[in-house]
Each structure stands twice: as C-alpha cells, then as structure tokens.
C-alpha cells in the first residue's frame, strides 16, 4: 500500500479526463447492476421456493379451473399432509388503478401449508368463524391505511351473482417472515367466494398441498396426475420451484436480452478504457522513465500501471453497483424483484478487474519494455 500515493497521482494526473472516464464506467456498471440484478433476482425467486409444497392445476393451463371434488381424492394420496383449495383472482380498491390480489383458501390448512406466513392465532380463528372475513397482508394494510375491523369493498372482473362488489371484514393481518414487502394478499374463505360468484361455481384454479418428504415430490405428483388421467379434468402437478420456473420461462428470453445488452455495453467500455489508458501511458513516458532511473524495476512499473487500472475500474464498478442497488427497488412494482442479489455485486467487481487487466495489458506491456534512454531522449 506504500505505492498508493503513486497510483492515485497517476490516476488524477488529468482530473477532467479521469472524471469523465469514471462517469462513463459508473453508468456502464449501473446498467449491468440493474439488468443482471433483475436476471439474478428472478433466479433467486426460484431458489427461495419451498421444496415441500406442490401445486395441482389443470393439465390444460394454470388458468383452466378444476372441480373442487378433486380435493378429497388428492388428500388420499399417501405422503400428503395438508391440502387447500386456492382460488387466485384480484380486484381494485377504491381507485381503478389500485389493484390488490385476492386468495380464496381453506383457513384450516392454508396457513399450515404456507408456514412462513406469520399470523396471530386468534386472528386465524376469527377467519374460520367469519364467513366474510379476510386476513390482509401487512404491506397492503400499510399502503391503503386499512385496520383490523374495517369493512372493505373490492371491484373485480370475477363477478358476483348479485352483481355487487366483493365485501370483506378485515379480521387480521399477516406478514411473511423475511419477505415483508411481499405480504400483499387479501386472504379470504374459499366457501364465501365460491358461493357468491356468478360463474365457475365449485371450481378452483389450483390446489396447494404440503408433502411430508420433499424428495417424493415428483413421485407424489405423478400419482396425483394419474388419478385424473384420461378424465375431462386432467391435472398437472408441479412443485413450487417448477411452477416459478415455468412462469418465468413464459415471459420470454430475458437471459438473452440481458446478456446481449451487457455484452454491448462492456464492449464499448473496453474500447474507451483501452484507448484512454494507452493515451495516458503515452503521455507519461518521461515520468515512467524517471521512475525507472530512480530504481523502480521494469516489473514494478508494469504492476503500477495495472494497479492504477484496477483501482480505477473497481472504484467505478462499486459506485455503479451501489447506484443500481438503489434503483432496482423502484422497479419492484413492475417486475417484482425486491433486491439486488449479492452475487451481482461479486460479478460486477469481477468484470471490473477483468476490464482493468484487458484494457491495461498493452499500456502495462509498454511500461515494462520502456527503455530509459529512449524515453528520456524524447523528453
């Protein structure tokens, strides 16, 4: 670290140029952070899924309803500990752009299946007792200023037979441990929704079940699907990770776009950095010659140049990645990725070092091979 002053002096020789280069790099790494952060964030969603949860949906597509009568047969499959119907829909609250998702479930089993949901026991009992009851996610409660005891009204494209809006009595609130920002659902009783809806009565979009042994997920899934094979309501069972993956796959080839853009950005950056480093070293030939005269070895000079490049790039990368970390949560509403995963940070720093080494290679070589006599003759 005794060479740090030398390295800094080299970097700041032309302050304006260093600043512009820094800004260019920062913007490149910020973009990398945002794009790769989104990409890796999606992968993290898949990794965070629970291996002991499976979803039974129609073999046609997740949007095609299944008859509720399937439930008793699913329950009888060995290895399954709990089953709940889960009807997922949504509606708007007060204003047409305030959308809230609703899950109509079976209170007795749902919260045991989703054991990461934290809810007070008495509130859970209240949901079981109150037909029109709802337990609302803490994030939604906070956002819309709802309190336990409120009576709320939701307008939904899923219509009631009597034409009115869906009304709920809030009996409690839930939070998902270590993902409080995702606690957004209105959780209500399946029977209430099923009996009130105009169309699709006695159908449900999916069943969710907890299994005793995650390793048996595929086996149990096949057993369930076999129960209904060749009927008019065939099922397709997936565990939570497969479900997440297929949802993401359906969106399209995000990987390709992200990698393509990142490649283009780094290509342009590499060129700019390389050009800048070459010019900088060319201008400093007399100074480097003096260093060698004073006693610095050829190798030391080369390392000095590389070090300068690395410090600069890593500094720029750090700033850019921190900016990205701040921006990503803003896009959360649109894309649902709450935070930039740490792996993106390490990737970014790794790329910075690589960039520094590649763009600094030729200038460092020049520094290595510099002959004091020739250099000083020029000056």
């Amino acid at each position: 670290m005794k060479f740090l002053p030398l390295v800094l002096a080299g970097m700041l020789r032309k302050r304006g140029r260093a600043l512009l280069m820094l800004l260019q790099m920062v913007s490149a790494f910020m973009l990398f952070g945002v794009l790769q952060g989104f990409n890796s964030g999606l992968k993290e969603v898949i990794a965070r899924t629970h291996a002991d949860r499976i979803y039974v949906a129609s073999a046609v597509s997740l949007g095609d309803p299944l008859p509720v009568s399937h439930e008793s047969r699913i329950e009888s499959v060995p290895g399954i500990t709990q089953v709940s119907a889960r009807q997922q829909f949504g509606g708007t609250y007060k204003l047409p752009n305030q959308f809230i998702p609703i899950a109509a479930i079976e209170a007795k089993t749902f919260f045991e299946i989703y054991d990461e949901i934290v809810v007070a026991k008495d509130q859970l009992e209240a949901l079981g007792r109150t037909r029109t009851g709802a337990i609302v996610g803490s994030e939604t409660m906070k956002k819309h200023g709802m309190k336990v005891g409120d009576h709320i009204s939701i307008n939904s494209p899923v219509q009631r037979a009597d034409g009115r809006a869906w009304e709920f009595d809030i009996v409690g609130s839930y939070t998902i441990e270590d993902q409080p920002e995702n606690s957004v659902l209105i959780v209500t009783n399946f029977d209430y929704v099923n009996e009130g809806r105009r169309t699709g009565r006695d159908t449900v979009l999916m069943f969710v079940a907890k299994i005793a042994n995650p390793a048996q997920a595929t086996e149990i899934g096949l057993k369930i699907d076999n129960l209904f094979a060749n009927s008019s309501n065939e099922t397709h069972t997936q565990n939570e990770s497969e479900l997440a993956q297929s949802q993401i796959q359906r969106v399209g080839d995000i990987d390709f776009v992200v990698h393509g853009v990142v490649a283009a950005v780094f290509f342009a950056l590499l060129l700019a950095t390389g050009a800048l480093m070459m010019q900088s070293v060319r201008e400093r030939v007399p100074e480097l010659a003096v260093l060698k005269t004073v006693g610095f070895t050829d190798e030391r000079v080369m390392v000095l140049i590389l070090l300068e490049s690395i410090v600069f790039c890593v500094l720029a990368a750090t700033i850019g990645l921190l900016l990205a970390k701040m921006i990503l949560p803003l896009a959360r509403q649109a894309v649902g990725v709450p935070n930039m995963p740490a792996v993106v940070f390490y990737m970014g720093i790794g790329f910075a070092v690589l960039l520094a080494l590649i763009s600094g290679a030729v200038p460092a070589w020049r520094g290595l091979k510099l002959k004091v006599v020739d250099a000083l003759a020029d000056a």
Partner: protein, 388 residues
C-alpha cells in the same frame, strides 16, 4: 472570410484530420454504434408488438365486452346477452339476414415449443359468424373446422413454434382428442398467436356457459354510435361497446408501453455513458489539435466557425455510426419472432426507428461535442502555442 466559408474550410480540415486521431474517433463511433444498436433492437420489439396489435384494425368493426372489463381476459358475456348483441341495430347483414357477428370463448393452453421449453398458445372457440367478422383468416392448407366436432385450425406461426401442430396431429385436452385439420395464413395480428375451434364444442369441453367477447361488423363506421346506444341503454344486459382501436389499446397498451420504457431506460443509461465517452474523446481530440486551433485563431478565424467545426467532427462520427448501428440491429433482429407470454410478433425495424437513431446520434454528438467546442474557442492563443 465570411462565416460560412470559414466554417466549411475548418470543418473540412477537421474532418480530414480524423485519420490522425483514430483512437478518439473510434471511441465516439463505437460508443454511438453500440447505444443505437441496442436501442433500436429493443424498440424493434415494441414496434413489432405495436404492429401486431394494430394490424387488422377496422373502423367498421366493434367489439362487445362485459361492462367494466379491463381487457378481453376479464370479460364474460352470458349466451342471452350475446344473442341480444347479434340482434342489435347497426350491424351489417347478409342478404339472407345473417348478422356479421361472432362470439369467442378462449383459454390459454400449455404446449411445448419445438425447443422443448414450455409456452402458451391461445385456443379460441369461435362461432360460425367468425368467417364474416374476421375475413382475413384464410386457410392455406387442409380445411376449415366443422361445428360439433373436436377439430382445430392452427396459425402458421403456431405450427412453426410449437410441437404437434401439423395437420393430422392430435392434442389431448379435457379428456378428449382434438385433431388439427387446417392451417391459416399469418396476418401479422393477434390471430397468429391463436389456434381455433368451434365455440360450442369448446364451451362444452371446458365447462363454460359464457363467452368472452362478441365482434360485429357495422353497416358503416357511422353506425357505431347507434349500436353502442342500443346496447348500453338496454337494462337487461351490462356491456361496453368498443371500436377495434380501443380494444387494441386496452389489450396491448400496457405491453408496448412496458417495452418502450425498457428500451428507452436502457438506451438512456447507455447514451449517457456514450456522452461521457464522446466528451472525453473530443476533449482529447481538441487537445491534440490545440496548436492548430491556436494558430487558426491567431491568424483571424473567428470562434464561431471553430466551435462549429468541432461539433461537425462529432456529428460526422456520430451519425454514420448510428446508421451502422441501426443496420446491425436490422441485420441481426429484423423479422425475428418474439414470444412474450404467448403473444407472437415479429421484431420490426421501421423507417421511423432510423429517424430515432439519427436523433439520438445528434443528441449524443452535440452534447458530447459542446464542451470541447467551447474549450477550443477559449484556448488562450499564447499558451496553446507553447510546446507542452
């Protein structure tokens, strides 16, 4: 010398000198090229989506959905309502009295793409009047579907993208086997993302008793108001009547707004990087030319022409770079098929996008060249003439 002749002379000299400043010139060129290539590629996606949505839009056609439905996915029309719609005034009729009207019920169907990944295709059950309301559906192989049997017509795109969509293939759905009997021509519209079957067969197999939307062809575009009044003032039904254009906006507005946002967001960040790079490169270029510029000012060239020549150098680098970038985007991605959540469309590099690319090149070039141009004009003549 006049302003104009000074400017032309200086610009010409400056541009000829670019070959001596290849390093910095390259930085500007590559910087602008990558920004434009990426921006135009992404915009090609949103243009493609836009074209898919607005292809096939007719002023004399209207769609009826349930009241308050935000998109076709959340609309539900009972049979009785659809019958009333078919009887409404303002609808074109055949000489025999059949209305140019149809109804649709649809669902997404999970299928495997040819590359093995999962995808969704939209299976739409159509009534007989569909051939009148959507005459662009033209069978090019096999035949049209018949009523009362489990037959499916596929679009060319569906056949190309998904497995088992050839004539004679079978798909098992809802406990029954459905046969592919025909292929219809791609029209560059939403129909390309669909496969079609008979509405009654669909509804009985999928246990539905409501349609999603009804479409009618009007006697003339002016009849829209009459149709809308008649249907919305009927107290026994609750519907909204929308023009083709309104439906497209409702169904797809969000998609291409999102795609546009992503394109411009990424483009803006890349462009700011390119501006910093251009500033750096052009500063370096002005630096290299400082004795030349100082000499010019010493012999009487005015500041204005000098500044313009620096800006011109920036633009001479930026604009061709942008055109090359657009060309690369066109070369690699034009015509490629994108598949977002089952919606199939082709990336399209339109002439409008070429203009967008030039505009961005101008912006990057002018902003990136502005400060260096100022620096060139403000170089103190004496100091610049010194050796270092």
């Amino acid at each position: 010398m006049s302003f104009i002749s000074q400017t032309t002379a200086l610009t010409a000299t400056g541009i000829r000198g670019i070959s001596q400043r290849l390093g910095s010139s390259f930085v500007v060129v590559i910087g602008v090229m990558t920004v434009v290539a990426v921006l135009i590629s992404l915009l090609a996606m949103s243009q493609g989506a836009r074209q898919m949505a607005t292809a096939n839009t007719r002023a004399d056609r209207a769609t009826v959905v349930s009241r308050g439905a935000r998109g076709v996915g959340s609309s539900s029309l009972p049979r009785a309502t659809v019958l009333k719609v078919f009887d409404a005034p303002g609808i074109k009729r055949t000489p025999e009295g059949q209305p140019y009207a149809s109804a649709v019920a649809a669902t997404g169907v999970d299928v495997l793409k040819k590359d093995g990944r999962r995808g969704t295709v939209f299976l739409a059950g159509i009534t007989d009047g569909f051939r009148l309301t959507s005459p662009t559906i033209e069978v090019i192989e096999g035949r049209r579907i018949r009523p009362a049997v489990r037959e499916i017509m596929v679009s060319e795109s569906s056949r190309r993208i998904y497995r088992n969509m050839n004539i004679g293939d079978h798909i098992t759905l809802r406990g029954g086997e459905w046969t592919i009997v025909g292929v219809y021509r791609d029209t560059g519209s939403i129909n390309d993302s669909q496969i079609l079957t008979d509405a009654d067969v669909f509804m009985s197999a999928f246990n539905r008793n409501e349609y999603m939307q009804a479409m009618v062809v009007l006697e003339s575009p002016a009849s829209f108001a009459r149709l809308k009044d008649a249907l919305t003032s009927d107290p026994s039904i609750a519907v909204d009547v929308r023009t083709d254009a309104e439906m497209q906006q409702q169904n797809f507005g969000q998609l291409y707004t999102l795609l546009d946002f992503v394109a411009y967001f990424i483009g803006a960040i890349m462009a700011s990087g390119a501006v910093f790079g251009a500033l750096n490169a052009l500063y370096a270029s002005v630096d290299t030319r400082r004795r030349e510029i100082a000499t010019l000012r010493a012999i009487g060239f005015n500041n204005g022409p000098i500044m313009i020549s620096v800006l011109a150098e920036a633009l001479v680098l930026a604009i061709p770079a942008a055109l090359v970038g657009t060309f690369l985007a066109w070369l690699f991605f034009n015509g490629d098929v994108a598949n977002i959540q089952g919606l199939v469309f082709k990336l399209t590099v339109t002439p409008g996008l070429v203009l967008v690319s030039v505009f961005w090149a101008l912006a990057i070039g002018l902003i990136g060249g502005s400060l260096p141009a100022l620096r060139a004009a403000r170089l103190p003549v004496a100091t610049a003439l010194r050796r270092t």
